[in-house]
Symmetry: D2
Subunit: 331 residues, 4 copies
């Protein structure tokens, strides 16, 4: 926002009033006299009308919204199968293995997720892998195993789509389609996913700004997605002591200011199993509408991401620590 | 840690066992046969003895600790005046204005801090400013005002030292000396501060790794500091929508794995007043032993950082939202 | 690399010898006695045999290469049409508009590229755009215009593929297929592009490590690409004074140590037209095998990236400043 | 800069003209009609008068300069002893060991620097060290050795000041005082250094913006420094394959747009000895006014930074590769 002044002599007084509202400003001058105050992006959100009412303010000029469809979603939770995610809804637990490795493995994982109070089952049929020589998922058959496990245990299903060619196949088996971090700006894939008219879980790119993330959601909505759930999973970090840098400021911004559905994946964020619980609790405290956590019936056998996977008991403990209502009763 | 093998054929089996313990490993080979597994830094903490007991493991080679004095502090809280901060102690609230502007201002701020359940009063007498033309604090006289306000309201006092020449003056008035982010690796200053034998609040540099931060604490302890409380205040970010990037993974690591005293400054982290409460709650959920929050009796008049300062009511609401026990009774 | 020792007492002496070779090492110990020295990644490249010959060294354990196909390309330039890019070849100039806007525009651009000594014509038919409301290219028809302009002026043609569905169409018109930064790890797209058996220009992701970049090249080669030319275009930066952060260290590493073909795109790196020439010269000095620069016959009319586009004269000046042999004779 | 419009209908036309000048703009509107165009920071530098002359532009509002003293230095080189650094002067070579270890070592290093065509001798008497247990320099006596070696070989001398208490001692022995990266915003130290009225070498902080760097120079100039030479030495990076990320965009900006004296330290930037030469050449091509390179008569014996130090022959080769005029004749 740009706040123009009637009289340069009002600059200090107006700036003080804006400061009281939580706004950081920068002065713009002509002939050394201040004509306008530019409100910095890291300021609190204040309606233009509030500012226009300040004595001495000539006008408030704003940047047109870059994402009208997303704006219309603010305050509205997203429905995924019979689960509701977002503003006003109880936090959800999404869990499951990194990769769907067999019908038995995903069934056992689904049982653990259900027991821990989870409502969405996750699991990769198509896995993006940094190396072409790493296990990249069992593909179509794993989609079937995943869908069956979800049905058997009354869980909605979310899984990642890697290829435009797989969108239809995934859409017929999953309740929500996931866009991975590395594809957050793979726009052709976004369009193909949006077109099937389903809710989408949109992971944040490893160095994407919140604005870029929101614009990728706009791509999905414009193409036809019925809703977008944002998923923060940690940003690229310079510090090897944790894998990624979980940005709960962005989560708080989406959840509290924009009131858009956002969940957090602490497993990928830190990589360290001993930090998943504290960061999961922190995510919910920051306003996240849910958690996405990797679990595996037998982490030692996991074909990918084993070191960060929780086993059955670990998932249950996490759910309890986070206040998720588990099967056997309230926590 | 480096896990050496008796027989290369055991590599997969040992790696699976390490994976089950939450360890990420990389293989090292000689003549294409795996001889050792290097444990990555973002792995869960596991004692070497546990690994040595795995069948097939020849030995576990470790890197000598770089900070023996700090290691000896793990699990021990730090005493500041009559306040205790750290492992096992209740979370503390440190608050006060960015700058100590007058005796009245800091007294009023101290009253607000006390009313909100705070136990430490903060306020800058010497302010590091990016521009040499910005207000940089009232210096020595502000130290007196600060010390008096602390005494009058039964609050311990913490304030930043910018110059080696001011260390003595600050040490006679404050209960804890603060090292600012920009000075985290100003080693001469660290030594001078350590030598006065007081507890130190060590803010993390804007792009410091956790290891570098811990080594700066070692500098302080080696010079004579009686204890170090770490303070996370957000890292340099590429995203203008929040000012800095609050690293709660690092907080969880210090608090839960290293059991070192760590507090969080959400005010500087985000810059946005509307995100302070959710990030403060998140910090405590991640394991932080306290909060440092800027407040000002009259944010519109604040000579620095006004847009992020909470007023009296804002501070009280924050304390309530975070479960701090406030004056008039439990929350 | 991990250098094991016969006798812990040799540790200092061996470390000194490694230091003389340009290697940074970290000690690993058992019972406080040093058993091995781990060579850090930011060390100079030294053959294991050289290290094994040092007195006191027991063995050198290495990490198996993660990209055998790429290793086999080291030292070999890539052929694109009748242009050769890489180790031992003269630097090439690739240029053209951000978007192919009309047959006339791309023809005029091609003429300018040819006049400036360029050998490859670039131009976007499919444009990745952060916002779904931005111009995203004219698609198939623009491919035809591009191919015709290339043919008319004797230039090889490179253009970006955004969708798996467009790979065939692009492959029949272009001499080299480009993978954009945002798709560097869109693995399904990489596979589809690799399968057509053409050379690929692989732009680096905005926060990708060199290792990740090389692994994406391995994806392409494994799928069938005939060669990969790396393109550095700047990393995500926290500093608004330039748009991105050009990483010439990575360029020097690829060009000088790995001897892989690498070009630099200074236009996207800085965004500022007034810095393109100095960074283009710097790129070549660092070892880059070519430049990719945006030009436009009429920058004021450019539908995308106009502010960074050079006009005909600007491109000619740049070519001269960089020592590219231009039409009318040597520079 | 903010470009206001007389008539919203001129917005597109004015934006196109600004685009032709290399300016990126963002629209600000009132009642959906565009009132002003904000010029982004990563735009080419254009004088306000040029913009005011565009038809349809009402006015150009600017941000007052934050560093008037530095602005007055633009275009003026800095004198250090009998060496001139900056706009219009030939590139200089500064070299010497990381630490001054003995009178003999620094004398031998000075001889090598002189032979390679260097004009400034560097060497640390006081060393900032991440760990308190690392060698931190010989202090005052090393200053004497350094000054004598400089005098003996006709080299001006530059060395780092770590403590406010050492400023005087250093100022009497050195021709230029160096502020290290970790102290770029240690403002008390900056003031103390500025007050002795000497030229200062100001290294960039590991995640400092160019604006912050320039403001630290303003601190120095305001305190009394006779000139400031900027030194880029690489930013904090997420990629372990090089140590830091050399920002030649910032160098090009300072050298070409602001015409301020700037040198580059490729040794600290990459850490890898095999990349020093290509990055040194790149730095000069980007416009750097000099190089600062670590050398050591016997790298294997260096007490700090040995792996990145060049020996006598290596330094000579580097100087030749960079076109520095060496002792025995032209290069």
């Amino acid at each position: 926002m740009l706040v123009t002044l009637n009289d340069p002599r009002d600059a200090e007084r107006v700036a003080a009033r804006l400061q009281a509202l939580g706004l950081w400003t920068e002065k713009f001058a002509h002939d050394t006299r201040t004509r306008a105050l530019l409100v910095r992006a890291d300021s609190a959100q204040v309606a233009p009308e509030v500012i226009e009412a300040i004595e001495g303010v000539a006008a408030v000029w704003v940047q047109p919204s870059a994402h009208p469809l997303l704006d219309a979603q603010m305050g509205r939770p997203v429905s995924v199968g019979n689960v509701t995610i977002g503003h006003g809804a109880a936090p959800v637990l999404m869990s499951g293995p990194c990769s769907v490795e067999s019908a038995e493995q995903i069934d056992e994982a689904a049982r653990a997720v259900k027991a821990a109070g989870g409502t969405l089952l996750r699991g990769g049929a198509y896995k993006p892998r940094t190396s072409p020589y790493s296990f990249s998922g069992h593909g179509g058959v794993a989609l079937d195993w995943l869908a069956e496990a979800g049905k058997a245990h009354g869980l909605s299903v979310v899984t990642e789509v890697l290829s435009e060619r797989d969108v239809e196949a995934v859409a017929t088996r999953a309740d929500m389609l996931q866009v991975g971090s590395r594809n957050m700006q793979a726009f052709s894939l976004l369009k193909a996913i949006g077109r099937v008219g389903k809710p989408v879980l949109l992971k944040r790119g490893m160095c994407a700004t919140v604005d870029e993330w929101m614009l990728s959601a706009e791509h999905l909505l414009l193409a036809g997605a019925t809703g977008v759930v944002f998923c923060e999973r940690g940003l690229r970090s310079f510090d090897p002591s944790t894998r990624n840098l979980l940005d709960l400021g962005a989560v708080a911004l989406l959840a509290n200011v924009h009131r858009l559905p956002v969940v957090v994946d602490p497993s990928h964020a830190v990589g360290r199993r001993d930090l998943i619980a504290p960061l999961a609790r922190a995510a919910l405290a920051a306003g996240a509408h849910g958690l996405m956590v990797e679990c595996h019936p037998e982490p030692s056998c996991a074909r990918s991401d084993g070191p960060q996977a929780l086993d059955r008991e670990g998932l249950l403990r996490l759910a309890n620590a986070c206040g998720v209502t588990t099967e056997g009763g309230a926590t």
